[in-house]
Symmetry: C2
């Protein structure tokens, strides 16, 4: 099985569309090469997303989503949201440090950080102590500067034009 010689830390952030999709597209590419991929979703657990329905068709791809199926926007956060995010982060630590996966995607972790559901110092520690061969991807808007600093590759998805501002609803199969 091919393994990465050097895994990097990638961040997809910004207010534009395509952060989670880029991570899933990367997962697709990685499993195509026989890499093992683990996707941990913060916040999104309990939501209904199209990609959840095909993940089991892909070999070497594991996905776990944490959350209570409601958008988390409140600051300070509710106890349930904190608990879900903490559980997700504990799993992230285990999966990254276990070195059994080539690519670990922490989807929406930046949002969890922004909402103070998890601790920035702990995330930085995870980034800095990750095994060399593990590729770590962190997605979500509002990535803290410290995370951007610690990452090797950072892409901002920048919204240039968006039809929701003229009233279009999210569409099944495209936005979710």
């Amino acid at each position: 099985m091919p393994k990465l010689e050097t895994g990097l830390v990638q961040v997809y952030t910004g207010d534009g569309k395509g952060k989670t999709s880029a991570a899933f597209g990367l997962a697709l590419r990685a499993v195509g090469r026989g890499l093992k991929v683990y996707i941990i979703q913060f916040i999104k657990g309990g939501f209904d997303y199209g990609e959840l329905y095909v993940v089991d068709k892909l070999p070497n791809l594991t996905l776990r989503a944490f959350g209570r199926g409601k958008f988390v926007t409140a600051k300070p956060a509710e106890a349930d949201d904190v608990r879900f995010a903490q559980d997700a982060f504990r799993l992230a630590e285990e999966v990254v440090q276990g070195s059994k996966y080539d690519l670990v995607i922490l989807d929406e972790i930046n949002v969890a950080l922004d909402l103070k559901l998890i601790d920035l110092e702990e995330v930085l520690k995870l980034i800095k102590s990750k095994p060399r061969k593990v590729e770590l991807v962190l997605t979500g808007r509002h990535a803290p500067n410290e995370v951007v600093e610690a990452a090797d590759l950072v892409t901002e998805m920048k919204e240039i034009k968006h039809p929701f501002s003229r009233g279009l609803q999210a569409r099944k199969g495209i936005e979710y």
Copy 2:
């Protein structure tokens, strides 16, 4: 089978990572919802990409890549590159206008436009005349202003930080 009520025109452009991956991630989401997806790759034909190895595991996803397996950078373009791009575009017209696919992804078409391998006016005509229910996605850096104007949703993948500038080679399973 669920069908889109309103298909939009999306553009993923910019110098950052994640344009093609975002399109493939979207394809994954769409097929998860039972939508039919057609991906046409400009320029990239003949190249070896990880995602090519799992596409056949996904239902309702068709992919065709055009190109001669060499990066196209020359202006004026070579005759072969023009021919491959023109063939790709003829197929794109057929697939979009045929209305049999919910999501049509024209991967790297912006690059083909930038290199003048295909005609801007023809692409604008395809965008403007697309059937209402078809979602059309155009990827690649250097999207012409006219394409951005004609699109409904435009995301710029902006490179904030990239390790290739410090000499890292593209990695199998991650960059390709």
